[in-house]
Symmetry: none
DNA sequence: TATGAATGAGGGTTCATTCAT
DNA sequence: CATGAATGAACCCTCATTCAT
């Protein structure tokens, strides 16, 4: 989906508006004001406000390939997580929207899109979790879905906290800390992993 | 804060409406329709729509004492988590609202209330985490805030998934599973692990 | 028209409310609040809000006999004016309502009542003006209606200014001053009055 | 303050509505109906209903320069008064609103604006009164504020009566009569009057 | 004599969207 | 590609009033 310059400006402004005041704050009027144009002008670039939101949500994915070729196991998971950190660090407003599925509960279409995104990532990553469990990087006794929650629950929460605090702490540092902790606690117990 | 029967009915309906369609869906009209009364009637019971939301948010706390007396360490944390599971299981709509701070971003007052709640719990629980670390229940090398994320990130995500899936799986089962996993992975490495 | 104690309280409160914020401010709710009772309670004492206003307007007259027996000419006019000064000084809120026919423009009934009051006074007083002109107290060449305006225009304006200023000056003093000035300027010119 | 054609239409309609039924009658709905458009359309031209009223009040001043250059003493006062007569004769609705400060008592902002207007005129005119007193046109013994009331009390009352009567008499004629009477009664007593 | 709960009508205002220019 | 003017629907809220208690 190729977007015009103006379209990109619009969805950028839309993200910023939502980040600042929730979807309630995303109105065509605010959008137009943010861009310094009039409201009808928006409709030159998007058929409707819904289209703006849908395009915006679709863009959330674009920069994070859920699995880059050549990476496997926890390394691939870690790459994905770091990608997310980089993505939101580069665009702080994202931190307040990216994992806020609730924001889009109003319209079936949006929430479906968000859910689909989450499921897609989950599926892609669970493959890597299995690899990691097979090759002894991660404790094998943890169930797939629980494992996903154990890893991405904290990642989501960290990003959310960073967003809500207005970037009050250094995301990279705390992100490294989190990844290190995850790596450590998920590693199989030494003796049980071998002696057994 | 003592609430009348009608007031309780109203905030119950409000929660249900938000759970069903986001705050966009919480309108005085819908509220009135849900109760089978007219819009102005709402104002006999709450000064404004804002007051309804604020009262509702305040109620999120009421049923979960963040630290029951006599409990310490991980036991206390576990109790709190199980309380949350019970709370949302008893009122599924809560699962879609309880951790959705973004829903209330629109109004400073609400988001402040939500944030304050989160901070209050965090503070109360970090004490128990420290106890747990001191007495060898939890690996001592993990930093306080990271530890909080490692535990409550997954809890939040589980509840959110349960809510968004419309209760498609058994929360109690998956909750037990999660708590067991947490307990295990956070436990310090046995001595032999260190001796290598 | 005999009024109960409660009824008097109500029309007193009504006057005060109008004086404070115009008729827009006279609502059944405010009325009830001012009296420390609930809204429906008002309806025990008056059939409707209109009835309250009508009764209030009717009361404007009560204390000022437009012509006391035994008084004639300018003396009678002066007595009437002084009565008005006394009346509003005793009840400052009156000053902001008494001559504000416009306040009641909304309902034919009210404005009619106000107009009737004004006409009644005008008729009664014009008799005294004629007496005063006949007996040489007032220049005879001024037309009846103009004379009325020359005298009561300033009186109204003084009372209005006093009311709007929140009683910032002494009404009695300025009232005396005005009456003295009126008496003087309306007196026939000495030489023309005699020499001719 | 430059107004668009539509804005002028709106404040014209607003004046007419108030004149017909008090501020109670000035609703956005009535305004829209008067212009044959829908309510939201009003908001393209004024930010709020308040803005309409404020603009309208501001316009009361525009056509009456409280002191035209080159005029002095009573001549200047007379010019101002005749200007007022002309103004309301050209726009009868004005007669019911112009001096009805009470109409706007509801909102501090409006009543402040009206009061400021009155004070401005008063200040400008008192200078001319002093000139008139200095050069022997007006009795010098009358105090400044009383003099203002003696002149503008009748002027206001005349205009109000004309407005309330629906233009039942000829304002110009009665206005001339009033001005003539004022000129005469305010003229100092001839010398012979003092020699007595 | 008063209240608590409710109502129909209407208040001002904002929404996404359209259309002629 | 953009605007000015407008609209129908919906927003939150207040009004005077009623009625069962």
């Amino acid at each position: 989906m190729k977007l015009t310059k103006r379209q990109i400006e619009i969805i950028d402004a839309a993200l910023e508006l939502i980040a600042a005041g929730g979807i309630q704050n995303l109105t065509v009027k605010h959008l137009a004001e943010a861009l310094g144009i009039t409201e009808p002008a928006i409709y030159r670039h998007f058929k409707s406000k819904s289209e703006v939101v849908k395009t915006m949500i679709a863009g959330f994915d674009e920069e994070v390939a859920p699995s880059e070729p050549g990476q496997h196991g926890f390394e691939a998971v870690e790459a994905f997580i770091r990608n997310r950190f980089r993505q939101v660090a580069a665009r702080p407003a994202l931190a307040r929207v990216l994992f806020a599925e609730e924001l889009f509960m109003g319209e079936e279409e949006f929430s479906g899109q968000m859910l689909a995104m989450m499921h897609r990532h989950k599926a892609a990553l669970e493959r890597h979790f299995q690899e990691a469990q097979s090759c002894g990087e991660i404790r094998p006794e943890i169930q797939s879905d629980t494992l996903f929650r154990l890893v991405f629950g904290p990642v989501r929460l960290l990003i959310k906290q960073w967003g809500m605090s207005g970037g009050a702490f250094d995301l990279a540092t705390k992100g490294d800390e989190l990844i290190a902790a995850l790596k450590q606690i998920l590693r199989p117990d030494p003796q049980t992993g071998r002696a057994k």
